[in-house]
């Protein structure tokens, strides 16, 4: 089964990525850039200095003020979309599993980006960062993107190391753009340090955190005396299920989400909770549009 069916692809045809920040791209594109360039959009004036291109002198100003000013135009550049997919073993959990859900989201966002002039780079992470595709641009890259995502598998060894993965992402020389971080955020070392690495590239990138959780995690169907076994590190927990314990778990989960949301909000990141119970197409076509990532 392909990650995206044709009906869905048809639905996203008119969509495009929206960046609330003006981000410097590498190639001329359709996006406004902070760089002053050669588009038709006027941006500002600045005094002429020797060596400037005389074609951009504003002769009307020179006539009125007898001073040379250069007309600056906004340069329109391409937008970079960085998608980071958590491929740790915990993502395989749930029905449908979170990893499939994450890949479909990545596929949808990547397809939308490639439909336009945006450039897409996809990487996966577990114990460390591993590129999946990119950079890619243009419609012709869509099949390659989808194929790479379909072949992507979870890492069956090691445990999630969000901090290391994000540090590797930050250390790689990369253009600013939109960063979509798709994960369940289950890392015993915490998520805070990792997200700080994401920010280390400067505030020009727009970071979206998609918190994917399966319905088995939001509402565990468990009862009796159980030994819960962590699928990644094998750590176990002996529990005797009771309504009180389930209530405590739900409260802890809510608090966990709240921590991520607050951390993100304080640092200008966007947090979106994406339970797999919410149909994938509804997430893309409705929730993310309302969040302003797509239009």
């Amino acid at each position: 089964m392909p990650l995206l069916d044709e009906e869905f692809v048809a639905k996203i045809k008119g969509l495009e990525l929206v960046s609330r920040k003006i981000i410097a791209g590498q190639r001329k594109g359709e996006r406004r850039s902070k760089r002053r360039g050669q588009s038709t959009e006027f941006a500002d004036y600045r005094p002429y200095v020797a060596g400037d291109d005389l074609r951009f002198l504003d002769w009307n100003i020179y006539g009125r003020l007898d001073r040379l000013f250069l007309k600056l135009f906004e340069e329109e550049e391409d937008l970079w979309l960085h998608i980071l997919i958590d491929r740790s073993r915990s993502m395989r959990f749930g029905e449908p599993d979170k990893f499939l859900y994450a890949r479909r989201v990545a596929a949808a966002l990547g397809t939308i980006a490639l439909q336009g002039t945006d450039r897409v780079r996809v990487a996966s992470f577990a114990g460390g960062l591993r590129p999946v595709i990119g950079p890619a641009s243009g419609r012709r890259q869509i099949p390659r993107l989808l194929d790479a995502l379909e072949r992507l598998e979870t890492d069956d060894e090691g445990t999630t190391d969000l901090a290391r993965s994000c540090r590797e992402f930050a250390m790689a020389r990369r253009p600013s753009g939109i960063v979509v971080f798709i994960s369940d955020f289950f890392d015993r070392c915490g998520f805070e340090g990792a997200l700080r690495y994401l920010l280390s590239g400067g505030s020009r990138s727009e970071i979206y955190l998609l918190h994917v959780l399966a319905s088995e995690e939001t509402d565990p169907p468990l009862s009796g005396d159980l030994k819960l076994l962590d699928c990644e590190d094998g750590l176990d927990a002996d529990v005797s299920m009771s309504p009180a314990l389930l209530g405590a778990y739900r409260r802890k989960l809510e608090a966990f989400r709240g921590e991520i949301r607050d951390f993100a909000a304080r640092r200008g990141m966007h947090y979106a909770f994406a339970p797999t119970a919410v149909p994938f197409d509804l997430l893309i076509l409705d929730h993310l549009r309302r969040r302003g990532l797509l239009r």
């Binding site: 915990s90 993502m91 959990f93 749930g94 979170k98 369940d184 289950f186 015993r188 399966a214 088995e216 995690e217 565990p220 468990l222 009862s223 009796g224 005396d225 159980l226 030994k227 819960l228 076994l229 962590d230 699928c231 990644e232 750590l235 176990d236 927990a237 002996d238 529990v239 005797s240 009771s242 009180a244 314990l245 405590a248 778990y249 409260r251 802890k252 989960l253 966990f256």
Partner: protein
């Protein structure tokens, strides 16, 4: 006596099984079957557990409905194993076997009546408490148990039966009574056995397993009473001086203080001897009286002596005891064989012995004619001449020709197949005496180390033969005891060597041996009554010879009981339930008399027991009113089963939902 409303028949079981509860809890922890469930991360679960300490032991216990149900079920089973009994409330439909003690100790006088009266009252109270569906059987017991009334629900009949229970002076045998009750209860699905008595039953072994399935209850009768009683009495004539008569008595003090007791020996109303004894508390003291002053008239067969104590306490049965003294009896001894001066002299020195001699041929002729009577020859000595025996004689009768008196064979042996298992005695030359049986009465005093013999018959081991004097590998003298079919037991002493071909007549052991042998053989006739009997013992003697019409035993109360001679020629009377003189009468004349006394330290010790101890187990006494009981163990078992079903249901529900 106030009883708790709920008691446990096997309380020890509960203590024995109680450790199962902590064991179950421990097993719960050790063997808790946790289902392993793979989760994406235990991160949040750990936080949740820490938050509510869900894995704390008591938290786990509190949440475990299954464990709670298991514990309740186990508790129910433990309580059921202890056999809980709800007192004072009966559900009806019970089968009760009521065992009423009527032994001698129940004749103790207390509060204006006897203990048996009190037992009757308690039994009647029990009958009053019967509800619809209850049935009760009445068994009176002492030495034997007698079913007076089989199971019935007829209260009026039961009352009449209980009121008709007569006292006895018999000792008690509770195990025998319980065996009777067990035999009655075996055909019943469930039964309760109630013992009403004073608990003076001595040391009892553990309760038999078969009885444990029945509810055993004890209604204690009596209060602390004091008693002093005669526990032993016997009479004997002095050895070698048959004119001297000694009365041996033992008196027990069953009070809590040392007591001085006066004793008097009476023949009729005449005081023959008296003594005063100081007996410490709880002890028994013997005393010997010289009663040689007693007189036996020519026409009387015996004299009766009565020993009486003053201040005998609450139990009258043991305050007097009786003994019979027979006149010094002359023993007719017939010697068959050629003259033997040494033997004749040995017999001549024996007091009370009338010896006569005849040749073997003359004896054989008299035997053929049937002219030898037991009274004419109580003991026969065959001196170097064994009697001829008819080939058609019945087995065993060949020991001595009719009328089968005890016999002493000197230097000869009877032609008896049973002797030496059919092998002929061998002739042993110059046998050396290696040993002799010092425990046998015949060998009392003599020693045979100096005995020199030319030759002797040697006897091998046999079922009927007991050696008296041993030579290497063979016995040269011994006793033979036989029980011929249909006849009284016969015994003989065989000396395998001719005393004239030995130095024995010159040794002092010879006359002593002859005296002992005649005394032992003469006593074996058992024709007469013994000096004294205990209550419950069978009175037995040889039936009077000749035509004795209308034989009957008369008990001390004056009631006559017909006496019918048995095939063996003896007559017996078994129901010696009261103390006193029993008489054997024939056509109104007293033929013989039998003194019967209690003489039982167990019955004289009348301190009532609050519980009956069966080995290490005790059945505590209860008031009859509390014996309206209901067994609750079935309810507890049902409850435990119900809880287990519920636990199973909850378990399955958890596993599959």
């Amino acid at each position: 006596m106030s009883a708790p409303p709920l008691l446990f028949a096997f309380e020890g079981f509960a203590w024995f099984l109680a450790p199962l509860i902590p064991a179950l809890i421990a097993l719960y922890f050790l063997k808790l079957k946790r289902r392993t469930v793979l989760v994406s991360s235990t991160l949040l679960w750990k936080r949740s557990i820490e938050d509510m300490r869900a894995n704390a032991p008591f938290q786990r216990l509190r949440r475990s409905l299954l464990l709670l149900l298991q514990l309740l079920a186990l508790l129910g089973l433990i309580v059921a194993a202890s056999k809980p009994i709800l007192m004072g409330w009966s559900s009806g439909g019970r089968s009760i076997l009521l065992l009423i003690d009527r032994s001698a100790s129940m004749n103790t006088r207390e509060d204006g009546g006897t203990r048996l009266d009190a037992a009757r009252r308690e039994a009647l109270r029990l009958v009053d408490g019967l509800v619809a569906g209850d049935r009760l059987a009445v068994v009176a017991f002492a030495q034997r148990a007698e079913v007076l009334q089989p199971l019935t629900a007829d209260a009026a009949l039961l009352r009449r039966t209980i009121e008709s229970i007569t006292p006895t002076s018999l000792p008690t045998d509770l195990p025998a009574a319980l065996s009777t009750a067990q035999a009655m209860a075996e055909s019943l699905p469930s039964a309760e056995i109630f013992i009403v008595g004073d608990g003076c039953y001595g040391e009892l072994a553990g309760l038999p397993l078969e009885l444990r399935r029945f509810g055993l209850r004890y209604v204690g009768i009596g209060r602390a009473s004091e008693n002093i009683g005669i526990v032993e009495l016997d009479v004997r004539r002095g050895f070698g001086s048959r004119g001297r008569v000694e009365l041996f008595a033992a008196v027990g003090n069953y009070t809590r203080a040392s007591r001085s007791v006066g004793l008097g020996v009476y023949q009729g109303e005449r005081l023959l001897a008296a003594a005063e004894m100081e007996i410490p508390a709880g002890e028994t003291r013997p005393h010997t009286f010289d009663v040689s002053r007693l007189s036996i008239d020519g026409g009387e067969t015996s004299a009766h002596l009565k020993l009486e104590i003053s201040e005998g306490g609450s139990l009258p049965d043991d305050d007097r005891a009786f003994v019979r003294v027979a006149p010094p009896e002359r023993l007719a001894v017939l010697v068959v064989g050629d003259p033997n001066g040494f033997l004749d002299r040995a017999l001549a020195v024996l007091p009370q012995v009338d010896a006569s001699r005849m040749a073997l041929a003359e004896y054989a002729a008299l035997v053929r004619e049937g002219k030898i009577t037991p009274d004419a020859a109580r003991v026969v000595i065959f001196d170097r001449a064994a009697p001829p025996v008819a080939p058609a004689s019945a087995p065993g009768t060949g020991l001595v020709p009719p009328p089968h008196q005890p016999a002493l064979y000197l230097g000869c042996a009877p032609d008896l197949p049973e002797l030496a298992e059919g092998r002929k005695p061998e002739l042993v030359k110059s046998p050396i005496i290696v040993d002799w049986d010092r425990s046998h009465p015949v060998n009392r005093f003599p020693a045979y180390a100096d005995l020199r013999i030319v030759e002797s018959l040697g006897f091998g081991p046999s079922r009927v033969y007991r050696s008296l004097i041993d030579a290497p590998q063979k016995s040269i003298a011994g006793t033979v005891s036989l029980q011929p079919q249909g006849g009284p037991p016969v015994r003989a002493i065989i000396v395998g060597f001719d005393v004239l071909k030995s130095n024995w007549p010159l040794l002092h052991s010879f006359p002593v041996f002859i005296g002992n042998a005649i005394e032992w053989l003469g006593a074996a006739t058992e024709g007469e009554a013994l000096p004294r009997y205990r209550t419950g013992e069978i009175l037995s003697r040889r039936a009077p010879e000749g035509n004795a019409p209308g034989l009957s035993f008369r008990d001390p109360a004056g009631r006559d009981h017909p006496a019918i001679p048995e095939v063996s020629g003896r007559i017996a009377f078994a129901t010696t339930s009261r103390t006193g003189i029993y008489e054997l009468r024939s056509g109104g004349d007293v033929v013989d008399s039998f003194p019967v006394s209690l003489l039982s330290s167990r019955e004289s010790s009348i301190v009532p027991q609050s519980e009956i101890r069966f080995g290490s187990e005790a059945v505590a006494g209860q008031a009859a009113a509390t014996l309206q009981t209901r067994d609750l163990w079935k309810l507890f078992v049902l409850g435990a089963l119900g809880l287990l079903c519920l636990e199973w249901w909850v378990y399955n529900r958890r596993m599959h939902c």
